[in-house]
C-alpha cells in the first residue's frame, strides 16, 4: 500500500521548504518539493533605479548575498556598456569577496546544516535544544570519533564567522556587502589590507585541508551506502564564474554521466510553467523575455517555482556540476583533487552522482577556491583604480551570469526611461528544486528522491540527507510560493 511521507518544514536549509514523497513497498514512487514563501522581488524591483538592484537583490538571500551582488553587478555592467571596462582590481576584488563567501557557505553547509544527519550531537552534548527533537536511529559514528566531529561543529562556527570578517575587509560588512557596485568596487586594495586578508585566509585554508576535508571523508567512510543514494538526473550544468583578468575559474559547460563536455549557451535556457502557478502563455520562454504572471487556478500546478530547463532537459547545478565540468575540460588542479579523493575512498567516477559525491565536491571546491584566492590577492595592484565611471542608459538590456555556492545564478534586466522595466532572476535552487516541466520530467531533487528505499518511514533519514546534499536555498528562489495539495484552490490571482 502506498504511504505519503510529508516533511514540513524541512529545516537546516536556507528558507522555507516542504517535501512530499509517495512511498510504495518501502520505495519512493513520486516526490514533490515545494517552497512555502513568496516575496515577489522581481515585482518590487520594477520602476527602481537600476543601480539599486545590486543592493536589493543581495537581500534575496542572507547566506549567499555576494552571489546576487556579483550577478547583479555583471548584469548592470552589461546594460551600462561597462563589461570590458571594469578595472582588473575590480574583477579581482569581486572574485575575492565571492570566494570568501563560498568558503563561509560551504563550511556552514557541511557542519551546521548537513552534519547533524550523520553526527550524533546528542551523544556528545546530551539532549539539549535545539538538537532535539530529531530523527532517531541511524547515527553510525560514536565515542571519540563522534565527539571530535561535534567539537568541529563548534570550531566551524568560529571559522565561518572568520570567513565573513575576512570578506568585510573589501566588502565593508556581511551579510549584505556594500563593496560590489556597478562598474567595479568601492574599496581600494592597499598592501596592509592584502596582507591582513592573506593571513586570515591562511587560517581558513588550514581548516579546510586539515579538518573539513578529513571530516567529509570520515562521514563518507561510515555512510558509504550514500555513494549509491540520491543519484539524480545525471546532467550537470554550470554557467561559469569568478571572472578574473586571466579568464574564468569555473568553466561554463554541460556534462552527463558519460563525462563528455558540451558547450553552454544561455539562449538554451527556458522556463516551463505547466506545473507552476503561472499563466501557461509564459511557458518555455528564455528569461530575457521571461514573465512572472501568477495564475493560481491551475489544477496541475503545485509550485511557484518555475521549471528552468536546458535544451528542454533537467539539469543539476552546484559544486558537483562545477568540479565535474572543470574536470572534463582538463583543469589539472581539479583533476588532481577529485582523483585523489576518489582514490582515498576507493570509489569510481560514477560515485560522484550521489549524496556523498555532492558533499565531497563541495569540500574539494572549498580548497580549490581558497587556494586560488591567494593568487588573486597577490595580483591586486594597490595604486590602480577599482571602479569605472558610468551613467544610467535611457534604454538597455543586460545579463549577469555567475556562480553561487549552491550553483549557477543569473540576473536579466531591461531598462526603460533609466528605470528597471523588467528584472528576472533564476537561482540554482530554482533548477534543483523545480517541479515537473511541460514534458512531465521531475526536477533534479525530485529525481534524486524517486526510487530511494526508505528504511523507516517515521525517521526517513534518506530523504532529508538527499535534499540537504543539494544545499537548497529557498529564499533565493524568488518566484516561489507554496503550492501543496489542493489548498491552493483558495488563492485568488493577484
Amino acid at each position: 500500500m502506498s504511504k505519503r511521507i510529508i516533511i514540513d518544514p524541512i529545516t537546516r536549509i536556507e528558507g522555507h521548504m516542504a517535501i512530499e514523497a509517495v512511498v510504495d513497498d518501502g520505495v519512493v514512487k513520486d516526490a514533490k518539493s515545494a517552497g512555502t514563501l513568496f516575496r515577489g522581488f522581481e515585482i518590487i524591483l520594477q520602476g527602481r533605479d537600476p543601480r539599486d538592484a545590486n543592493r536589493l537583490t543581495q537581500r534575496i538571500c542572507g547566506v549567499c548575498p555576494t552571489s546576487h551582488a556579483t550577478a547583479s553587478a555583471l548584469c548592470t555592467d552589461d546594460a551600462f556598456g561597462l563589461t570590458d571596462k571594469a578595472p582588473d582590481n575590480a574583477k579581482l576584488i569581486r572574485a575575492i569577496v565571492l570566494g570568501a563567501n563560498f568558503l563561509q557557505s560551504h563550511i556552514l553547509h557541511f557542519y551546521h546544516l548537513a552534519a547533524l544527519d550523520y553526527v550524533d550531537a546528542v551523544g556528545a552534548l546530551g539532549g539539549l535544544s535545539p538538537f532535539v527533537p530529531r530523527y532517531e536511529g541511524d547515527y553510525r559514528i560514536s565515542g571519540k570519533a563522534n565527539a571530535e566531529l561535534v567539537s568541529h561543529y563548534v570550531q566551524a562556527l568560529d571559522i565561518r564567522r572568520k570567513c565573513q570578517e575576512m570578506l568585510s575587509i573589501f566588502g565593508g560588512k556581511m551579510p549584505h556587502n556594500v563593496g560590489i557596485v556597478p562598474g567595479g568596487v568601492t574599496e581600494k586594495p592597499t598592501e596592509d589590507k592584502i596582507t591582513n586578508f592573506l593571513w586570515r585566509l591562511n587560517e581558513i585554508r588550514d581548516f579546510v585541508d586539515n579538518v573539513y576535508i578529513p571530516d567529509v571523508i570520515a562521514v563518507a567512510q561510515n555512510y558509504d551506502d550514500y555513494f549509491g543514494i540520491g543519484k539524480g538526473c545525471g546532467r550537470l550544468l554550470t554557467y561559469g564564474g569568478f571572472d578574473l583578468p586571466t579568464g574564468r575559474l569555473f568553466k561554463a559547460g554541460v556534462v552527463s554521466q558519460d563525462l563528455k563536455p558540451e558547450p553552454f549557451a544561455k539562449e538554451n535556457i527556458t522556463e516551463d510553467v505547466t506545473h507552476s502557478w503561472y499563466a501557461d502563455s509564459s511557458s518555455g520562454k528564455n528569461p530575457a523575455q521571461g514573465e512572472t504572471k501568477p495564475q493560481l487556478d491551475k489544477k496541475e500546478a503545485y509550485s511557484f517555482l518555475k521549471s528552468p530547463r536546458y535544451k528542454g532537459q533537467v539539469a543539476e547545478l552546484g559544486p558537483l556540476a562545477r568540479m565535474v565540468n572543470n574536470y572534463v575540460q582538463g583543469d589539472a588542479k581539479v583533476k588532481e583533487l577529485v582523483d585523489s579523493l576518489l582514490g582515498q575512498l576507493g570509489a569510481g567516477a560514477e560515485a560522484l552522482f550521489s549524496v556523498l559525491g555532492r558533499h565531497g565536491a563541495r569540500a574539494l571546491e572549498a580548497k580549490f577556491v581558497g587556494d586560488a584566492m591567494v593568487d588573486w590577492l597577490c595580483a591586486l595592484k594597490p595604486a590602480e583604480p577599482v571602479i569605472v565611471e558610468h551613467k544610467i542608459p535611457e534604454e538597455s538590456e543586460g545579463v549577469g551570469l555567475t556562480e553561487a555556492p549552491r550553483g549557477s545564478v543569473g540576473h536579466w534586466m531591461t531598462i526603460k526611461g533609466k528605470k528597471i522595466d523588467r528584472y528576472q532572476v533564476i537561482t540554482p535552487t530554482a533548477w534543483n528544486a523545480s517541479p515537473k516541466d511541460d514534458k512531465g520530467q521531475p526536477g533534479a531533487v525530485e529525481q534524486a528522491i524517486i526510487g530511494t528505499k526508505v528504511r523507516d518511514k517515521d525517521n526517513p533519514f534518506e530523504l532529508v540527507r538527499i535534499v540537504r546534499a543539494f544545499d537548497p536555498c529557498l529564499a533565493c528562489s524568488v518566484h516561489l510560493l507554496d503550492a501543496k495539495r489542493n489548498e491552493l484552490g483558495v488563492f485568488k490571482a493577484v
Binding site: 510529508i6 516533511i7 514540513d8 518544514p9 524541512i10 529545516t11 537546516r12 536556507e14 522555507h16 512555502t36 514563501l37 513568496f38 516575496r39 515577489g40 522581488f41 518590487i44 520602476g47 533605479d49 543601480r51 539599486d52 543592493r55 536589493l56 537581500r59 534575496i60 538571500c61 542572507g62 547566506v63 548575498p65 556552514l108 535544544s129 535545539p130 538538537f131 527533537p133 530529531r134 530523527y135 562556527l157 564567522r161 570578517e165 568585510s168 575587509i169 565593508g172 560588512k173 556581511m174 551579510p175 549584505h176 556594500v178 563593496g179 557596485v181 562598474g183 567595479g184 568596487v185 568601492t186 574599496e187 581600494k188 577599482v386 571602479i387 532529508v464 507554496d482 483558495v490 493577484v494
Partner: protein, 284 residues
C-alpha cells in the same frame, strides 16, 4: 546558584536568513555561548526552535511550538526574523504543516506572540516590513508591532532593525534584559533601544571632518564625505560608526559606500534611490 533559563522561539518570516547569519557572527558572546552557556552569570537562553539550526524537522518540531505556546505561557521569548505576509490570509508564507494545514507565518507569530514574555523583532523586515513590504508590497507584508496592534496583542515588542542587524544589537539587548530586566530597555519613538540606535551615523562618522570642511566624494571610490553620493548617515540612527561590523573589521562608510539607512522604518522606499543625494533641506 540555580541557572534561570529562558526558552527562546525564533520564527523566520518573509526574510532572507541574513539576520540569523549576522547573529552567527557574534563575538562576545559567540553563538556557541548563546546556545550552550550562561549568557550572563545565572541566566541562560534555551533556543528551542530555530529552523536553520535545529536538529529535527517535520511534525515533531511543529509540536514543539504547540507545547511552548500551551505549557510555557508568559515564560518564553519570541524572536521574529522577516516580515509577516498578510495577503491571502497569510498563505504567501508558511513555516510548516500543522493538523494537515499550512501553519502560516501570520498565524504562528500571532499565536506565539500573544503568550510570549516579550517579542524581539529582529531586522528591518520584522520591525517595519523592510524590503518584502517595499512598493508595491506584493504580499502585504507587515512588521510585528503593526500585526500585534491589529490583532490586539499587548506583548511588548523590542525592534532591532538593520538589514541585517548588527549581532551586538541582539546580544546587547539580551544582556540588558538578563541583567536589569525588560523595563531597563529604553526605546525610542520607533521601538528601538536607545543604547544602540540613540545617535546619528553622522555624529560619529570618521568622514565627518570631510563634511565639515566641504570635502565631498564626487564618485564612488573617492576620498571625502559621501553625502553627495546618497549617504543617509545624517538621518540614520545607529552606532555602526563606533561599533563597526564583523568583529570591528570594517563597515559601510569605511569601505567607501554611502550609508543606506537600513535601520530606518522607511527603508528601502524612503531611502531610494540609494545613490542619490538627500539634502538637509529635503529632510525638513
Amino acid at each position: 546558584m540555580v541557572t534561570k533559563k529562558y526558552p527562546v522561539v525564533w520564527l523566520q518570516g518573509a526574510g532572507c536568513t541574513g539576520c540569523s547569519v549576522s547573529v552567527l557572527n557574534a563575538v562576545s558572546p559567540k553563538i556557541q555561548n548563546l546556545l550552550l552557556d550562561e549568557v550572563v552569570p545565572g541566566h541562560q537562553l534555551n533556543l528551542i526552535f530555530h529552523a536553520t539550526i535545529m536538529g529535527g524537522q517535520g511534525e515533531p518540531v511543529i509540536e514543539v511550538l504547540k507545547d511552548t505556546e500551551k505549557d510555557r505561557k508568559g515564560g518564553y521569548i519570541l524572536v521574529v526574523e522577516g516580515a509577516i505576509p498578510t495577503a491571502q490570509e497569510g498563505l504567501y508564507g508558511s513555516i510548516g504543516e500543522r493538523d494537515g494545514k499550512h501553519l502560516t507565518i501570520e498565524k504562528s507569530v500571532a499565536e506565539l506572540g500573544a503568550n510570549a514574555l516579550l517579542t524581539i523583532a529582529i531586522g528591518t523586515c520584522a520591525a517595519y516590513g523592510g524590503i518584502p513590504a517595499a512598493k508595491p508590497n506584493p504580499t502585504n507584508c507587515k512588521g510585528v508591532k503593526e500585526l500585534f496592534a491589529e490583532k490586539g496583542i499587548g506583548t511588548t515588542v523590542v525592534n532591532l532593525p538593520g538589514c541585517p542587524l548588527h549581532p551586538e544589537w541582539f546580544t546587547g539587548t539580551v544582556s540588558v534584559i538578563l541583567f536589569s530586566g525588560l523595563d531597563a530597555v529604553q526605546l525610542d519613538n520607533v521601538g528601538r533601544p536607545k543604547l544602540f540606535y540613540g545617535q546619528l551615523i553622522h555624529e560619529n562618522c570618521p568622514r565627518r571632518a570631510d563634511f565639515d570642511k566641504g570635502k565631498f566624494a564626487e564618485k564612488l571610490g573617492d576620498a571625502g564625505c559621501l553625502y553627495k553620493l546618497g549617504c543617509k548617515g545624517h538621518y540614520t540612527n545607529a552606532d555602526c560608526a563606533i561599533r563597526q561590523w564583523n568583529n570591528g573589521v570594517s563597515w559601510c562608510i569605511k569601505a567607501g559606500s554611502p550609508c543606506l539607512g537600513c535601520v530606518e522604518p522607511e527603508f528601502p522606499d524612503g531611502t531610494s534611490p540609494m545613490y542619490e543625494k538627500v539634502t538637509f533641506e529635503d529632510l525638513k
